[in-house]
């Protein structure tokens, strides 16, 4: 009965969706998309990918505001000091202020050393190496032990990025990226990692100098005015006391932070390692020193502050054209730059839904029984790789798997050649976004394939 119903619907209209009909034309007018537009982490991009910031930019505006207000107050009181002391004071203050703001902005808007997520092939290769021989899909949390400078270091597997994290790398939950990590600083609104650590360090050092300088100037100001009027009156009259309070409270924390980071730089440690106590002597007599240190303070400083800054992600490169096609659905809605990433996730979700529906409907209609085991590993593999990888790599990886499965494992009930070919076409078309709009019934899908083969051929070479 249900078959009769479906016969009335024109399969050609369903298999050739408006989306697919538009796509070839759209591709020509669609501008080439840059890689930052499809970036999977929680980051914001400005100036067409030149500047990168965390999604939650924390208290960066507050930090900037505090610095600007404090310095502004300082410059307001300068004339008094200029006439009593020297004109160099505002000049030095100005230079320090510019240095602080430049370093802060550089820290906030620089890529901290984000590692790109593993491609589908890489992830599959790692999975193969780990689960070789094991029948269960999700083995217990994975670690790999390696030797670094004759010391055992454990590398953890990152389930989000689908790779073993290189040494000194950590996954930042706020930014949802694996980063060559120091820490995530809410004051600068970004992760601090290998690539922007030197900017962060120069920021806190220059801020210490600036705060100390302003503090000293304010004290001098009050002392000089007290000499004339008496201390109580001087304090009452001069609003410099506000400045004094701000500086007094911030100087301890900033000086403390600078001292701490100077220690880290000199011993080639990251904040993460120090807090976790990775290399402290808690393992007793065992040699558990830092394997990365050069055992020389100057070399350590040079390595940290003058070392290389490898650009591991490519923000401004162009996406290859076949990767841009599934995101055409998102781009036609003209959303702001960072939202197509969530649309890509939605596309992945809907592909998963279609596949799951196919699985259920094939159960329901009771088609070739051996068809079921073929589709269930498909759904499993799709759901495992769906969250992290981009949809196009997912579809190409999956279609290859399916092709291999269909060819290798034909249905025993029907002539192998005929069935395997149509099954392969089925599987390939199930990944096809155009198929999303077709009914999930496999009966219809076969009919759609027979009649709608012509227009859909255009998609096959892209897989």
């Amino acid at each position: 009965m249900k078959n009769c119903e479906y016969q009335q619907i024109d399969p050609r209209a369903l298999s050739v969706s408006p989306l697919s009909a538009q796509n070839p034309a759209e591709k020509k007018v669609q501008r080439p998309r840059r890689k930052w537009e499809a970036f999977p982490g929680k980051n914001r991009f400005f100036c067409d990918g030149r500047l990168i910031l965390a999604r939650q930019n924390g208290v960066l505006p507050l930090t900037l505001g505090l610095i600007v207000v404090t310095s502004g107050l300082f410059f307001a009181f300068c004339p008094f000091l200029v006439e009593h002391l020297t004109v160099c004071i505002p000049v030095i203050g100005g230079v320090l202020f510019l240095f602080v703001v430049a370093s802060l902005l550089r820290t906030s808007f620089t890529d901290p050393g984000i590692l790109p997520r593993a491609t589908a092939d890489e992830a599959a290769d790692i999975e193969r190496q780990i689960t070789s021989g094991s029948s269960t899909y999700r083995p217990p949390p994975r670690t790999k032990e390696i030797l670094i400078n004759q010391q055992v270091v454990k590398l953890k597997y990152c389930f989000t990025c689908k790779m073993f994290r290189p040494p000194r790398t950590s996954h930042c939950s706020l930014c949802d990226n694996c980063v060559r990590f120091d820490h995530h600083c809410p004051w600068v609104g970004n992760c601090v990692g290998k690539r922007n650590y030197r900017y962060f360090y120069s920021f806190i050092i220059s801020l210490s100098f600036l705060t100390s300088f302003i503090f000293a100037c304010v004290i001098t100001h009050i002392t000089l005015s007290q000499a004339k009027k008496g201390i109580v009156q001087a304090v009452q009259e001069s609003p410099a006391v506000v400045e004094l309070v701000i500086c007094f409270f911030s100087i301890w924390s900033i000086l403390g932070l600078s001292g701490f980071h100077t220690y880290l730089v000199a011993s080639n440690l990251t904040t993460n390692e120090d807090i976790k106590g990775s290399w402290s002597g808690k393992r007793g007599a065992e040699e558990s020193g830092n394997p990365y240190t050069y055992s020389n303070i100057i070399t350590n400083c040079c390595a940290t502050l003058c070392g290389p800054m490898p650009p591991l992600i490519d923000r401004r490169g162009f996406l290859p054209p076949d990767e841009a096609v599934p995101a055409a659905a998102a781009s036609e809605m003209e959303l702001p730059p960072f939202t197509p990433k969530s649309d890509a996730n939605m596309c992945t979700q809907s592909t998963k839904d279609v596949l799951e529906r196919m699985l259920h409907s094939s159960d329901f209609h009771g088609l070739c029984p051996s068809g079921n085991p073929k589709t269930s590993p498909l759904v499993q593999e799709v759901s495992s790789s769906a969250p992290a990888t981009a949809e196009p790599s997912l579809s190409s990886g999956c279609s290859r798997q399916l092709a291999r499965q269909a060819v290798v494992d034909p249905c025993p009930l029907l002539p192998p050649v005929a069935f395997s070919k149509s099954n392969r076409r089925d599987s390939l078309h199930s990944i096809n976004p155009a198929f999303r709009l077709a009914s999930p019934s496999p009966t219809l899908s076969r009919r759609a394939l027979v009649l709608g083969d012509g227009p859909d051929i255009g998609f096959i070479p892209q897989h």
């Binding site: 092939d121 290769d125 390696i146 040079c302 003058c306 490898p310 083969d453």
Partner: protein
């Protein structure tokens, strides 16, 4: 039907048979070095000596890039004094060597790997985690 077959055939001629991943070698620290162990999948495709030579050259180039020499120190000090604004107009030593590496890989692909149906991917495109070697299927399929 016939059209589907021919298009699929065309696809298969350039199809990827397998991908081999050469992992990083961390025995000397976090310096970018790759393992020189010859993968078994490449045994029939390329000479072991040739492969090891390529990896060894790449390792040397990366070591040169990351070397803490006088040039990188001078760059670092200059950058610090100018509030790191000098990086906006100048290319660092590391970036220069990265370009050299890209050119070397291109050259190796053209001369040695492509004729054997292999393709090296620059590790920088994979976040300096792996060297991806793509093995293409034999192009002897013709109907």
């Amino acid at each position: 039907m016939a059209e589907t077959h021919s298009l699929q055939d065309m696809r298969q001629q350039a199809a990827v048979a397998a991908k081999v991943f050469i992992q990083r070698d961390y025995s000397n620290g976090t310096m970018c070095q790759f393992q020189t162990k010859f993968p078994s999948e490449l045994e029939t495709k390329i000479d072991k000596q040739q492969f090891e030579e390529t990896i060894r050259t790449l390792n040397n180039l990366y070591a040169e890039a990351e070397k803490l020499g006088s040039q990188s120190l001078i760059e670092g000090c200059l950058a610090c004094l100018t509030a790191y604004t000098v990086f906006l107009c100048m290319e660092t030593h590391y970036e220069k060597v990265l370009k050299k590496i890209a050119k070397y890989i291109q050259e190796q692909n053209d001369k040695i790997y492509a004729p054997r149906g292999l393709l090296l991917t620059d590790p920088i495109e994979r976040g300096l985690r792996v060297i991806e070697i793509t093995i293409y299927e034999d192009r002897s399929f013709s109907r």
